[in-house]
Symmetry: C2
Subunit: 318 residues, 2 copies
């Protein structure tokens, strides 16, 4: 029974997991969907009263009946490396590849259906609230008046991007930024703004959830540091125990969202409360593992390698 | 409690349903996501310990607490009509709009998560087989040898597009086409081919499923007509009863796929067997209603207008 990893060629995080899988003798096939058709060959057969499919990469053949699990890491766009690429060829190849993989009885980390929904930031806040997390007051709005009222009510407010940084070359960074009531809100009418009450924090928390295993890490914040992703604080990520209430909320969240893997970001305030900021279903874990020594790659490998029946609780509708 | 219809401005099928909803006094809000931000204003509030949101279109305000159901008809791309459109503005607006709508407790026809999966043709065949339909032998392949072997085994084979016609101006039509073993299959290596055993048919069947109500229509095929969508047969769509076995399979299919609406296409062979060809979760119904007089628009309106508790069975995880 083979583990399929969908990712682009250069991916050191995937390399870590592949090494662990090799270590346990679990067969692995690595495919960048961009290499299909071309380096990879696919055939899905709905012909003899049932379904079977095959995927062949560099001479290694994987039968859908022998597929244990699928890790959607950083897959390229289907057919992106084709000799004659086109949006239509990408659409046809996406149909063939993902249609075949959805037909298989494999476990997904994470299932694309759940992953797409889990990327919606406003929905994340709703699910976080329902799961029992402390969630900073937040508004998404295209109404300048409501944006101003929100800032007047909460005073210290940050503005963020919901979908990530705007594309561009060189890439624009868009750090979370503090704003005040004197801000000009007229531009909100032209594009939705994500405004969130600023949580004065003494630390950033990154909690990685793999199946039912949780790894929390903490990094002391620099003075007046707003966005933990930018700027050097002189502090490193250190392992930290998961409070029981947080553990329950994480379990509830990944169950509601149908996720086998999730990376949560929290701000720890001066009372020690962990405020939910976001949950990235495809979040990196290499940097945390490097600094904390937490065996996250090994746990991902274990989840991917286990039999369906091994651990029902961590299967989460995948 | 209001029904929200996501569709572009010109949509006569939506007009039919809106007229029915007006007839029963159900409030309706119609939004083209392309008009956001601009004509429409949105605000989603995760601020006072709970969630609330508002959508305002042409002075009509809809609160998320007053949202009964969402019909995803033919929505435009978010922010497509913005004064200064960009992929990033579309991504941010998609986050804000769909994130807010996913947060609401409304029923969906169909939920985007299930709709995306339901568009995968290979997966459709798998689900159709599991649901009990007769499915013509089919292969999706990028291997020329397997394509040739499939045609040699089944002799009369059609080739189709999985994702729809290639884009272009003028638009290319890509009718389902009969091929034989003398075909040159080398191009299969450059793009996946969908090959299906040809079902000699005496009629096309279109079955529309709305919640738990089924409407089947039949159109006698022309002699040697391969693709029912092209060419005039001189025959019209006529209502036809749904065989019990088909009704059971449809129910199973929409339950597995999580769909509240689905349009099934079958080929009726000379023994009267209905062969599953595809299931379009967003399929048109105006042309069938026009020719058969089947009250499909009224049933869609009824589904959208009903309370959540009214009909548990037709709610289907929406």
């Amino acid at each position: 029974m083979t583990v399929l990893i969908l990712t682009s060629e250069e991916d050191v995080t995937a390399d870590l997991v592949v090494a662990r899988l090799h270590g346990t003798g679990t067969p692995v096939l690595r495919l960048d969907p961009a290499d299909l058709p071309g380096k990879a060959v696919l055939s899905a057969d709905y012909a003899h009263g049932d379904f079977d499919g095959h995927l062949s990469v560099n001479g290694h053949v994987l039968s859908m009946g022998g597929l244990r699990s699928i890790w959607v890491r950083r897959p390229g766009e289907p057919a992106a490396h084709a000799a004659d690429p086109s949006p239509w060829l990408t659409a046809e190849t996406r149909q063939a590849l993902y249609g075949m993989l959805h037909s298989a009885a494999a476990r997904w980390m994470n299932h694309p259906r759940n992953a797409d929904q889990a990327r919606l930031k406003p929905w994340q806040l709703r699910v976080a609230h329902l799961s029992g997390f402390a969630v900073p007051p937040t508004v998404f709005t295209t109404a300048p008046r409501l944006a101003r009222e929100f800032v007047e009510e909460y005073r210290d407010v940050v503005v963020k991007s919901a979908s990530g940084p705007p594309p561009g070359d060189p890439a624009l960074t868009l750090p979370t930024t503090l704003i005040g009531p004197d801000t000009d809100f007229s531009a909100v009418a032209a594009g939705p703004a994500l405004l969130q009450k600023y949580v004065p924090k003494r630390a950033d928390i990154r909690l990685t959830c793999v199946g039912s295993r949780l790894f929390a890490a903490r990094k002391t914040a620099g003075p007046d540091q707003v966005d933990g992703r930018f700027g050097e604080t002189g502090h490193a990520w250190e392992p930290v125990p998961v409070p029981e209430r947080i553990g329950k909320a994480v379990h509830e969240y990944v169950t509601l969202a149908g996720l086998a893997y999730a990376a949560f970001d929290f701000a720890e305030d001066w009372d020690g409360i962990w405020w939910f900021l976001e949950c990235n279903q495809g979040g990196q874990f290499g940097f945390v593992e490097l600094e904390t020594g937490q065996p996250i790659a090994a746990e991902v490998a274990l989840w991917l390698a286990q039999h369906r029946a091994d651990r029902r609780a961590s299967d989460r509708r995948g």
